[in-house]
Amino acid sequence: MRRWATFARILAPTRSRHYSSPPPAKSTSDPFSLLAPQLAELRHSLLSLLDSGHPRLSEITRYYFLHPSKQIRPIIVLLFSRATNGLGRHWEHKLWAAQTHGAGGHADELDWPLTRPDILNDWNPSKPTCTSPFNSSPFTIRPRAPHRPSPPHRHPHPSTHEPKLYDAEYILPTQKRLAQIVEMMHTASLLHDDVIDESALRRGQPSAPAAFGNKFSILGGNFVLGRASAALSRLGDPEVTDLIASILSNLVEGEILQTKAVETDGPTEPAELPGEPLTKIQDAWNIYLQKTYLKTASLMAKGARAAVILGGCKEGDIWREIAYAYGRNLGIAFQLVDDILDYDSAAATLGKPGGADLQLGLTTGPALYAWEEHPDMGTLISRKFQGPGDIEKNDPLKPLTSQARNFVAHSSALQRTRELAQKYADKAKEVLEQLPESDAKNALEALADRVIQRRS
């Protein structure tokens, strides 16, 4: 094992040592083109993870993967894998596990269930050797050999470890699977959110509830969640399981937070009592940012952190902290830009109806900034933009609140939101500084810029 590791280091391109020589000139690494082949491969194999004996179910669960998203979440997982593989203290063990049959990290084994297929009864026609359909014959009890062989013995790795990037392009099979799991969890939440929001469109196509109905969309989301969770357990890392499993709670509680009304008692008083109105706005900001963390940033932050843990970084390694901080700041920047675009962009560019946030009664960053400059915005917010005088007179079919839009447009709200997003994106780039130089690191920086610059 040791020889292999040394050999690999010789073959790998020379990397400047961490903390010493100046970094090489930065190449522009576009994250999307850098990973395009991997993303295509992952999406293709992800479809097979969702196959079932029920054609309609398979159709629904795969629906959102057929019109691919920006895939920013798996990109973060893959990039952080490349940017940190080799740095963690237990990297050698992880590499060994990925290259040795029976150690639990090999690509062939990630589909192997922990329990016998005839008990799980989670039939997948694309994986006929690992799964089994329900059989109504009686279940017999008899002693059986262990379902999975014990892992092969391994020489203990050296006690000292030198953090050094392993390879520009290598990603562990477990990390690839994690990227798929993260995308599956995101999709499961979309399937539910589109029912809750009654969205007709997603990425320019009919949404799942529009195409299949509410009930089936909810069930489809549950199915994807079930498959993602089963795949998670097979990664064999309890800490990663804990981290990723907690994301679901975050997503739901973010959704619940979002549906609660922003607490206001009507229009804020003008500057006579400067303290009080500011507190209400500050509270509203805290709720909004917390909701944004829970619904958007948490998955990115924890996905990145989990990728680094799968690469062998243990407690005490700075790399997992960097990953989490990057994901969290990037996620918030991402959502802020999303909220700007909802006011700023037409449906055709966006792929989903613009002005959706106002229609749903949601108060986002731009609305909050506008409130700081126009106290009457507070009333509109507390009424969730519904009510007389708020209806767009020009277009009776699509009631929007013209006043709210006007407040936002006639203030520095959009500009200030953009600045706030930039601040988060800059912080994301800043935390990357402690990573050794690599194409992946450059791509992560470029990703932060792309998030800010996007128009859809």
């Binding site: 009686p138 009930k215 079930g226 969770s229 089963a230 805290n286 005490g316 901080a325 912080k427 402690q434």
Partner: protein, 410 residues
């Protein structure tokens, strides 16, 4: 398949025994009544934190002990098997070394990273006012030192005496119930309602009538979110995988259309028996049977699977057919009245189909035969129990199987 006369005879025998043992008509809760009460109040509290309306709704169902079949099964099975698994000493030691509440709640990474409401979350971590700074690593408490490995000796399985319950198993019972309730909530979602209004009441949760789709979806999702976190914290990958597949099973089962016995049994397994079977198996695993070649996990699975079938078949006889709910009595009635077949093929969707189906069922042996089938499953469950050493909890499980198959109440 037994002949109709034989089935009728068996059914009469059981009914005779039922009358003789009055306590068999109710769930055998006395041995675990305290745990069941605590489970119920904890679940009520949890629902209340999600949404105030939810706890009001849940209060209406609070007094209903009949709805606790699943957690009861898990609790009884834990007692009946703890001590048999070769890792039992480790499990017992782990439970004793740590404060039970803390162990179940303690995350593996820092609370501010998990961001799940946690008693010890430092206040600064919950603030979202500013950009998130890098926290220096090493602030976390070090992971607990692994318990020293027990000396390798052949383990002699023996029931723990006095019988006991691990905190993880208590938590599992709660998880199983939450998965069930989440499914009931999600069952309420329909295609006709918009998010804000409702036109119809569901058979499973009529208390949600009038709330539209939003509340059922969010409530179900809320429970599944907590389930996901709690499952991970049980610290047992096999148990996590088992219950994850239940979610996939239930979704598939809900979509399945029944048109013959085969699809009916498959749907019943996916929707009902799977959760019961895997819950029982998971509790055996938590009790230390994870890596055994011994049969305890399989016994648990066989018992749970068969009781799950018995339970659902009887429930189907008590509920009767409904639109998109073709069940045992209807299928058996169709064998005597072929005119029912086209109705089955269209899932009882047309106007008047349900009434017609009910009529045919009442004029046939559909209910009797379904109940007889339920009894045969209960019999298989009781056969599985024979592998376990005798105990009062094993007897209670015997009564439970019997009650599942013979009860006359929902």
């Amino acid at each position: 398949m037994l002949s109709r006369n034989e089935m009728r005879y068996r059914h009469q025998q059981w009914m005779r025994r039922l009358r003789a043992y009055r306590t068999a008509a109710a769930w055998p809760t006395s041995l675990v009544a305290g745990d069941l009460d605590r489970l119920r109040s904890s679940l009520l509290g949890l629902l209340g934190t999600a949404h105030p309306t939810l706890s009001e709704i849940a209060q209406c169902n609070a007094s209903d002990t009949r709805g606790q079949f699943r957690p009861l099964l898990v609790l009884l099975f834990s007692h009946a098997t703890n001590g048999l698994g070769s890792s039992w000493p480790t499990k017992q030691r782990d439970a004793l070394l740590e404060d039970p509440a803390a162990a179940l709640d303690s995350p593996l990474t820092r609370p501010d990273i998990l961001n799940v409401p946690h008693p010890s979350t430092p206040t600064h971590a919950a603030s979202f006012a500013g950009v998130f700074d890098l926290h220096p690593a090493g602030l976390d408490a070090p992971p607990p030192a692994p318990a020293p490995a027990p000396a390798p000796t052949a383990y002699i399985p023996a029931l723990a005496s006095p019988s006991c319950l691990l905190p993880t198993q208590r938590r599992l019972a709660q998880i199983v119930e939450m998965i069930h309730i989440a499914a009931v909530f999600h069952d309420e979602v329909n295609d006709n309602d918009s998010v804000g209004t409702s036109t119809s009441a569901g058979a499973g949760a009529p208390f949600l009538d009038g709330f539209g789709n939003l509340l059922p979806i969010l409530s179900g999702d809320f429970l599944l979110g907590r389930v996901s976190t709690a499952l991970a914290r049980l610290g047992e990958a096999e148990a996590f995988e088992l219950l994850a597949t239940v979610l996939a099973n239930q979704a598939e089962g809900d979509m399945l259309r029944v048109h013959d016995t085969d699809t009916y049994l498959r749907k019943t397994y996916l929707r009902t028996a799977s959760l019961v079977a895997k819950g029982a198996r998971a509790t055996a695993i938590l009790g230390g049977c994870a890596h055994d070649t011994a049969i305890w996990r399989d016994v648990a699975y066989a018992y749970g699977r068969n009781v799950g079938f018995a339970y659902q078949l009887v429930e189907d006889t008590l509920r009767g057919p409904a639109r998109a709910r073709v069940t045992g009595p209807v299928l058996f009635a169709a064998e005597e009245h072929p005119e029912l077949r086209p109705l089955i093929r269209r899932d009882l969707a047309d106007e008047g189909d349900v009434e017609q189906a009910r009529d045919y069922v009442s004029r046939s042996h559909g209910v009797e035969r379904t109940r007889a089938l339920a009894l045969s499953y209960a019999e298989k469950a009781r056969e599985a129990l024979a592998f376990l050493p005798n105990s009062e909890h094993k007897s209670a499980l015997d009564v439970l199987a019997h009650a599942a198959a013979t009860r006359t109440w929902l």
